[in-house]
């Protein structure tokens, strides 16, 4: 502030230059300070959770804001988590998310390709119908989907977890956008060589789509891994089929008023860990796919 007023009163160029340099330094310092503050606000809750998950329960309750244990490192929380049903829920989560990622890759890219490149009667209607479902809030479907699953006898089964979530308008749309960006010449050349649609799709088109498929796989895995309402509708009454998300949400209610933070925090860490690993490995794809959502509007 003083620097700018000094610059205003003294009109010599040297003074102006030094003051603008001071101003620039202040700006840089403020920028880093601000970003550091927000960066910490974003990251600290996770760091605190991880740090406290390695403490004893009394230690967590007494000194939550210390990043190191005062009563020695304890894996009691993790031990309790693993003697509970968490390993089973972990397997359920992995099984469900891997299956759904595969079905999304297959169904979404097939449908996206048809909408992008194949001419067939009813394509416009099919497309409108698909896009229309993007406007339907998931929660609106909560009860009706339960009823349909019940009619089909799928409540409390693995199939009930998988079937309704096998595809989604967003993934189809993402793939359609991508296939439209591939130059049609490639297909024409293949078609002259006598290549049918199916072979063309699997041999010529899909290899070109690997970046888009990676983004789709990440989206689908993240979506299924983090999903709460799907499992809540379908398997809430069958504890053996709970996923990590459902388990973590529901064990709290089973314990009465004093909350077992050691279990909850280690449960939270285990629930996040697979996603975090994927995030750090495929970081670039996450950043790119987040901006896809902006493009899609």
């Amino acid at each position: 502030m003083t620097a700018t007023t000094a610059a205003g009163s003294a009109n010599t160029t040297t003074n102006l230059r030094t003051s603008s340099e001071v101003f620039k330094k202040v700006r840089i310092a403020l920028t880093y300070g601000f970003l550091l503050l927000f960066g910490l606000a974003m990251v600290m809750p996770f760091i605190y959770s991880v740090a406290n998950s390695f403490k004893t329960l009394p230690d967590i309750n007494a000194n939550p804001s210390l990043l190191y244990p005062t009563q020695g490192v304890s894996v009691e929380g993790y031990r309790k988590v693993f003697t509970q049903d968490f390993p089973r829920w972990l397997l359920n989560s992995i099984g469900m998310s891997v299956t759904l990622t595969i079905t999304h890759l297959v169904f979404d890219s097939l449908a996206g390709y048809a909408l992008a490149r194949i001419k067939f009667p009813g394509r416009g209607i099919a497309f409108t119908a698909l896009i229309g479902t993007m406007m339907v809030p998931g929660i609106v479907l909560l009860v009706p989907r339960f009823l349909v699953l019940k009619q089909l006898g799928l409540i409390g089964t693995y199939w009930g977890l998988i079937l309704p979530a096998m595809t989604g308008a967003f993934g189809v749309f993402l793939m359609k956008q991508f296939f439209e960006s591939i130059p049609p010449d490639i297909e024409e050349a293949a078609s002259i060589d006598g290549c049918g649609r199916f072979r063309m799709f699997f041999v010529v088109i899909l290899p070109l789509a690997i970046p888009a498929l990676t983004a789709l796989a990440i989206f689908s895995f993240q979506g299924s891994w983090n999903d709460l309402t799907g499992p809540l509708i379908t398997v809430v009454n069958n504890r053996d089929l709970w996923t990590l998300q459902l388990g973590l949400a529901l064990v709290r209610g089973e314990t009465g008023s004093a909350l077992p933070w050691d279990i909850l925090l280690s449960g939270a860490v285990i629930t996040t860990l697979p996603m975090a690993v994927i995030f750090f490995v495929f970081q670039r794809f996450f950043m790119e796919s987040a901006t896809y959502t902006a493009v899609k509007g």
Partner: protein, 353 residues
């Protein structure tokens, strides 16, 4: 001369028709798996829900015993002085305050972060982007659990506030405080339920008195709002960042040649060019906040005193025992979301479809 060309033409027509037929079959083959899933698990349920919203079905007895009750569910929800309407209007109020607090804050914050991260001199840009984005990849259940712990009465947030204020701060039980935030501000100026003028207390609009409408979000809801802002700002920042990087640098150079300072450049160049992106961020924010469910389910289950019951959560709680009412409520939510989506489509134009 003519005969062979006719047959040739017919033959080529036949091959063209066969080819079109093949194309169509391929098209149906490609799209039917996805379409089948969407029809069975989205369209059929939607139609089913729409139908039962005009019946008295509770969800407990078999569906075929349900009776038509015309618009009863909607009437009780919207037009009659009925407990259902009281619940709905309270949920609408809670959701509206939630959206009103979260959407502008997260939009402004993510824009600010994007502008800062986009500065040329900045190093460790990748690190900051990663740090801001990380919360977005975690689930509502995990974040809810962590926030539950942080906002505990003896939790880190309260300890931090005590530390900063030097002990003058009286710990708030964040997740069990039903007082409205605006009511709390009123209280500072001596305006409470007892001292409020009668018109505030007695005039009822859509199931609640003016005094009740003016409550603001409860303190517990405020904690959930902070959580929502904290989670989404990172994703929204990336969206703004992508848009910022699309702005040609020549525009800034031209503006600075014309003598525009940084603030003027931001006001006159950046903001107008970001308008479509800002609009997109605001509408997806509105659509997202009006659907909020997971966080409520994990953190508060609607407590304390129903001050964190949102429309989506009301749909969930009424689904057991009042299924037709729940379906009608869900359709009201659908209409609200549809409204936001259509505004978005209209104003953003149909760039991509």
């Amino acid at each position: 001369m003519t005969a062979p060309s006719v047959t040739m033409k017919r033959a080529s027509e036949d091959t063209a028709r066969a080819k079109n037929m093949q194309e169509a079959l391929a098209g149906y083959g490609f799209i039917s798996p996805a379409l089948a899933v969407i029809v069975v698990f989205i369209f059929v349920p939607m139609i089913f829900a729409f139908i039962i919203s005009f019946t008295d079905w509770t969800g407990l007895k078999p569906v075929n015993e349900a009776q038509w009750n015309n618009f009863d569910n909607y009437r009780k929800l919207l037009f009659e002085d009925h407990p259902n309407r009281d619940d709905f209007s309270r949920a609408l109020k809670n959701t509206a305050y939630y959206a009103l607090g979260v959407v502008p804050t997260q939009t402004a914050l993510s824009l600010l972060l994007a502008v800062i991260v986009n500065q040329k001199f900045l190093r460790f840009r990748g690190f900051f982007r990663t740090a801001f984005y990380f919360p977005s990849i975690t689930s509502a259940v995990v974040i809810g659990t962590i926030f539950l712990w942080l906002f505990n009465r003896d939790g880190i947030i309260n300890r931090l506030l005590i530390g900063i204020s030097g002990g003058s701060y009286r710990p708030v039980t964040w997740l069990n405080d039903l007082n409205g935030v605006i009511h709390n501000v009123f209280k500072v100026f001596g305006l409470t339920l007892q001292t409020a003028p009668p018109w505030m207390r007695q005039t009822e609009i859509f199931g609640q008195s003016i005094w009740q409408w003016l409550s603001g979000p409860s303190v517990s809801m405020l904690a959930i709002m902070i959580l929502a802002i904290w989670t989404t700002s990172g994703t929204l920042m990336l969206i703004f960042l992508a848009a910022l990087q699309d702005i040609p640098t020549q525009l800034y150079e031209a503006a600075s040649v014309d003598g525009a300072n940084r603030w003027q450049q931001f006001r006159r160049v950046t903001l107008p060019l970001l308008r479509p992106t800002t609009f997109f961020v605001v509408t997806i924010g509105l659509i997202g906040t009006f659907q909020v469910f997971d966080q409520i389910y994990v953190i508060s289950s609607g407590a304390p005193a129903g001050t964190t019951v949102t429309i989506a959560y009301l749909v969930y709680t009424t689904s057991r025992g009042a299924a037709s009412q729940s379906a009608a409520t869900a359709f009201m939510l659908f209409v609200i979301i549809m409204f936001f989506t259509l505004i978005q489509r209209r104003l953003m134009g149909s760039r991509s479809w």
